[in-house]
């Protein structure tokens, strides 16, 4: 019996006449880097939004750690161990890098109603912040307002924030989008490092990176999972080749 941390079953979501999730089912095994690929507009972000709780599916179920989370608000899902980064970086621009990470560290620790002590002087923050900064290579940027970071650094911060809660499942929505080759290498290294401690659902366009990193791949086309398997199986799947890989060249 395989241990699945996430199971998506018969998910449906329509935007008017458009079916963004069309009877979509797939499962993620614990400990895997599970990649989700598919052409633009296939419904990947919509799927991530439904898993993390920002969009309510029309029907279907999402089991996280064997619990159906479909009706749960986003903040409860996060508290259960579901962390995510966003395709459009959505860090807190006006806060410093250290404050961004502190917010994430504290939010996950509960007890957020503390009014007195300076947030950067809280023991938990002093213990965790330096290592988190270092994990995503931003130690030298700690006191810079996040809006002054480069694109790649913003992505790193984004991942750092998702990490601060020690999620069991980390969902990364196109973490390499818009990065140069150097940034892609950095991010791949980071994902490999993270893989040892958590399951990762990776939505990514960069095929080379996906095939190098993923244990399993799900291919999404028009809101449906048309294939599921190891990178080798996906590479040789005729349906995938015609529907997707072919057009990518």
């Amino acid at each position: 019996m395989t241990d699945h941390i996430l199971e998506v079953r018969n998910l449906r979501k329509s935007f008017g006449a458009l079916l963004a999730s069309n009877n979509l089912s797939f499962s993620v095994r614990r400990g895997d880097v599970h990649a989700l690929i598919g052409p633009n507009g296939a419904g990947k972000t919509t799927l991530v939004n439904q898993i993390s709780g920002f969009i309510r599916p029309d029907s279907g179920s999402i089991l996280f750690e064997k619990t159906d989370i479909v009706a749960m608000p986003a903040h409860r899902r996060a508290a259960m161990g579901l962390g995510r980064s966003f395709q459009i970086t959505s860090i807190f621009d006006h806060l410093t890098v250290a404050e961004n990470l502190t917010l994430a560290i504290l939010a996950h620790s509960g007890h957020t109603f503390r009014f007195w002590r300076h947030c950067l002087r809280i023991p938990l923050v002093q213990q965790t912040l330096p290592s988190t900064l270092e994990r995503v290579d931003l130690d030298h940027r700690a006191n810079l307002p996040a809006r002054h970071l480069s694109h790649g650094e913003k992505k790193q911060l984004e991942v750092g924030m998702a990490l601060a809660g020690n999620p069991k499942l980390l969902i990364l929505d196109e973490p390499m989008a818009g990065m140069g080759p150097g940034g892609t290498v950095e991010m791949s290294k980071l994902i490999r490092k993270l893989k040892t401690t958590m399951t990762i659902l990776l939505v990514e366009h960069d095929m080379a990176a996906v095939f190098a990193l993923a244990d399993r791949i799900t291919v999404l086309v028009y809101g449906t999972a048309i294939a599921n398997g190891t990178p080798d199986e996906i590479r040789t799947d005729p349906e995938v080749r015609s529907a997707y890989l072919g057009e990518e060249g």
């Binding site: 986003a74 957020t112 947030c119």
Partner: protein, 327 residues
């Protein structure tokens, strides 16, 4: 980044000036200065509390006067019952002791803020602005309807509340009471803004969705922030009732909410000391311009536009340098 040295260089002289103002008033033989600056300090308290919502929380409330009014009416009503010798609701004799009336005014304002905030915070954006305004206007008309407390005309108080060891009817002592209150509020707000709670409030201001993925429900935090801001405004209202020995429905009116908002914008949105500067600039300009024209608001408008367009952090930003810090 605005350095500590720069801040000290600017803020220290201002605090020294405020502490020494009574000397200046005595030297110029101008007792009116004391009452003018008492009002400035009181409005500064209200503006600082509003900035917790506006600048730090990203919550544009156009009904902040509601809580100033509740604070003032608490003081006024308690005082009234001691003078007419008829207990409030048949049980409470009223009070003219500031150690009782001020905390009660703060509590009453916090209570109103809890109820009003609980409803308003379910909305956002333009709806939030309109519904905060609507609640304040409801209280305004309620105050007009309170015939026993003067209705439309308001209610004069025959004296200020007493304070043990302090002659509050002396403008000098009262001025220092206001100054200490403002310093206390600034200190508390400073702690709050940099605390864990404050960090969440600041984060949620620009990005409420993102806060949710961190496992925090911003609604509760915003509600607590709304209550704290309301309590601050309640204190300002209670002091204002004492300062002018008079309460009137105008204290609930949206024009007062608007003026507080102008003070915050003028002084520096999302800064703690900015609203103090804003309150001072606003009331001093009003004082000066009103000597020449009754349409002084007409001349204040362009000043505000210039400051808001050219100084992102208002007067505070101009003085300190628009740093990348936010306090």
């Amino acid at each position: 980044m605005a350095s500590i040295a720069r801040k000290t260089a600017v803020l220290l002289p201002i605090f020294v000036f405020l502490a020494a103002l009574p000397l200046l008033a005595a030297y110029l033989d101008n007792p009116y200065l004391l009452s003018l600056f008492s009002r400035i300090l009181i409005f500064a308290i209200a503006a600082v509390s509003l900035d917790l919502l506006l600048g730090y929380g990203g919550l544009v409330s156009l009904g902040h006067a509601a809580f100033v009014g509740v604070g003032a009416y608490t003081v006024g009503i308690l005082f009234h019952h001691t003078t007419i010798g008829e207990p409030l609701l048949g049980i409470f004799a009223g009070s003219e002791n500031a150690l009782i009336t001020l905390p009660l005014a703060v509590l009453a304002a916090a209570g109103f803020a809890l109820v009003i905030g609980a409803m308003c915070l379910r909305t956002s954006g333009m709806h939030f602005i309109m519904i905060t305004l609507a609640f304040a206007q409801m209280l305004y008309y309620t105050a007009i309807g309170l015939e026993q407390y003067g209705g439309d005309d308001g209610l004069p108080l025959y004296a200020r509340n007493t304070f043990p060891g302090l002659d509050t009817n002396n403008d000098l002592s009262f001025y220092y009471l206001c100054l200490v209150s403002l310093l206390l509020i600034l200190f508390l707000a400073h702690r709050m803004v940099h605390s864990r709670f404050g960090l969440i409030i600041r984060g949620a201001s620009h990005n409420p969705d993102r806060i949710q993925t961190l496992g925090v429900n911003p609604y509760t935090h915003r509600l607590v922030c709304f209550v704290i801001a309301g309590a601050g405004a309640g204190l300002a209202g209670a002091l204002l009732a004492n300062q002018s020995t008079y309460i009137s429905p105008g204290l609930f009116h949206w024009t007062l909410s608007g003026e507080l908002m102008v003070m915050v914008l003028l002084g520096g949105l999302g800064t703690l000391f900015g609203p103090v500067l804003g309150a001072a600039a606003f009331l001093l300009l009003e004082e000066v311009l009103a000597m020449y024209t009754e349409h002084w608001m007409f001349y204040l408008g362009p000043v505000l536009v210039v400051v808001v367009i050219f100084a992102r952090k208002g007067l505070y930003g101009l003085l300190i340098g628009s740093g990348k810090n936010h306090d």
